[in-house]
Homo-oligomer: 343 residues x 2
DNA sequence: GGGGACTCTGGGAGCGCTCCCAGAATTTGT
DNA sequence: ACAAATTCTGGGAGCGCTCCCAGAGTCCCC
């Protein structure tokens, strides 16, 4: 009751080697399809591994390779945001798919408040993961700065508001998207186009405001008193829309920098007796997959593909991990417009 | 240039011990606050660890303890579902919080199609995690059956349609919630209450249908020709509602087994010229945080708290991991009704 | 005061793997 | 034909940690 791969224990490399009649070294080489293994040995080892149901012990492997085979996906946004916005679900899902295809595991971490930062940093520098994907840091988020000090490969999603030199970033063309929204509204004959902005400490919100401004200025139209800040929420959008209606009762279109804010704006417009889109046309941003089509009328919105973003991020990180020299910088992804009934 | 914790490398336990002037064993004991360490040694070791910025090598630790300190969260639902439904985001977030508090890491895995099952099983039995939380398996999902063969502690969220003997499950009171919805509609004087069901291979959808039936039968009201299957989507709900209006034009209320279906139903009702809630009252299920309040009128819906569910699941898993004898079975969590304008 | 308990410590072994190195087997070149 | 390269193999070391064990020190109670 002593020899052989015992019944209850998981077989080790040594067991596989013994079963195959080769040494541990040869078995290891065969399994990692390293150079210098005879095809006969390789075959016999692979057969042994299959017969015993062998799967390598990841802990033992990392101990010597100093690689964990895992990557952290860090979502740095307040809880409410992460929960409501399907963007994050799409990011998680896409990251999982891409990482799995590359044979890596995905560890998920949320950073809701500043209090979570030290713990996250400690974990990240604890050597549990080979690299990190960090999504949506807003201005003043201490995470990017702290991460720069770590010697851990990191790729950011969404331009961090703070320093951005020497870091890898994949972002959407927020400014271009906002311009696209305004140009669409101009195209359907609107000339008094207001905007409900996101919180302006958020780089994306800022860029969307800039895009709106640029397009209106280029068209020679008025921007004064035509913008009001929401906070990316329905209630914020509703409140902002009421302000705008008060300040500019003659407005004939509104660009909301997020879909929930667009929904709030629509509510305020209906309450004020305006018809959508006849009296006031509405365009949102993000193309919220559940919300935008469910609105009445369905919401026209700027569409961005989170999968493309996370795919780019993962590929960049994997290149970094492989030691390929990747030039730091920001990659900007294009957006499109999803036309529905509201504009 | 040889001795001491070298500048670039991460310090090891040996380094900490040397710095503190104790043995590796004592350092280990102090750090794991094990029994039998003098308070002086503990202090000096902790100080050394802090000074050197020591953090233990998880791989080395797992190698000997045969524990990884990580748990897999497995979401077994088709991609579209996971992406649109904030329920899953809440589950992930809640799981992360609870696991972090227990000092564990969370590995996230998605199982979209049957093809993903073997890979998932292989991973789970590969010893990468200490246990698994598996959410929302539907009837015929091969995952639960396959997992039973593994000697890996698993806790399910949402009753799997297949065998449920000997497994740990935490579910919501779907039947009770549906009953609650119907009773609310009865309470506001409705008597011809239709339902739009989810796909009936889904245990939750089935339970919600049963609850609706029970409540109507108990009230002595008609159920014939008053139910129609959607598929948990907006379009399905819209189509089902049109059928119901055709079959039972005199209906005065509808209970939809999900919020997107409720949104679809509302669209069909408005298209048919019915006023909500005057002509037809609408109740949804899930209390979708973005969708329900954004509807016009805002949607009354059955509320369930995903955090409570995942919290229960994590606590059960941790007890299992600790070797506490937990009786297998299903824990049913209560739901409530969120009253808004639609009913 | 002496024996039996506790409290604390350090060294050794070993978890399962990969890498290095020396040597055996095989091929190639002249 | 023999030397030199090349292919392949097995053993040893060691990654950083925890656990076991033996032993030293300390306390207490009869």
């Amino acid at each position: 009751m002593a020899a052989g791969p015992s019944q209850d224990e998981r077989p080790t490399l040594e067991d596989v080697a013994a079963y195959a009649g080769v040494s541990r070294s040869t078995a290891s080489r065969a399994l990692n399809d390293d150079a210098y293994v005879s095809s006969r040995s390789r075959e016999v080892v692979l057969a042994a591994a299959a017969a015993l149901g062998y799967s390598p012990n990841q802990a033992a492997r990392s101990l010597v390779t100093k690689r964990t085979g895992a990557v952290a996906l860090v979502l740095s946004e307040p809880e409410s945001k992460v929960l409501d916005d399907p963007y994050f679900a799409a990011i998680m899902h896409g990251a999982f798919r891409e990482l799995t295809a590359a044979g890596m595991q995905m560890l998920l971490m949320f950073v809701d408040t500043r209090d979570d930062v030290p713990r996250t940093i400690r974990f990240l520098e604890g050597g549990h993961v080979d690299g990190a994907l960090v999504v949506a840091p807003h201005k003043g988020d201490p995470l990017p700065t702290a991460l720069r000090l770590l010697r851990l490969p990191v790729v950011f999603g969404g331009r961090p508001g703070t320093i951005s030199r020497g870091i890898h970033t994949v972002d959407f063309d927020n400014q271009g998207g906002a311009r696209m929204a305004v140009e669409h509204l101009l195209g359907i004959g609107r000339t008094r186009i207001a905007t409900v902005t996101g919180p302006l400490d958020h780089p994306a919100a800022r860029d969307r405001l800039t895009g709106w401004e640029d397009a209106l200025v280029a068209a020679g139209l008025r921007i004064e008193a035509m913008s009001e800040s929401g906070d990316f929420t329905l209630e914020g959008g509703e409140r902002a829309m009421r302000c705008l209606l008060h300040r500019a009762p003659d407005l004939d279109a509104v660009f909301a920098a997020s879909d929930p804010m667009a929904a709030g704006a629509m509510r305020a417009l209906i309450a004020a007796g305006r018809q959508i889109p006849q009296d006031v046309a509405v365009v949102g941003f993000d193309d919220h997959p559940t919300l935008a089509p469910a609105m009445n009328p369905p919401l026209t919105s700027i569409h961005q593909d989170p999968r493309e973003q996370i795919g780019n991020m993962v590929r960049t990180l994997i290149a970094l991990l492989a030691g390929d020299p990747v030039r730091p910088g920001t990659k900007i992804l294009p957006v499109s417009i999803a036309r529905r009934g509201s504009a």
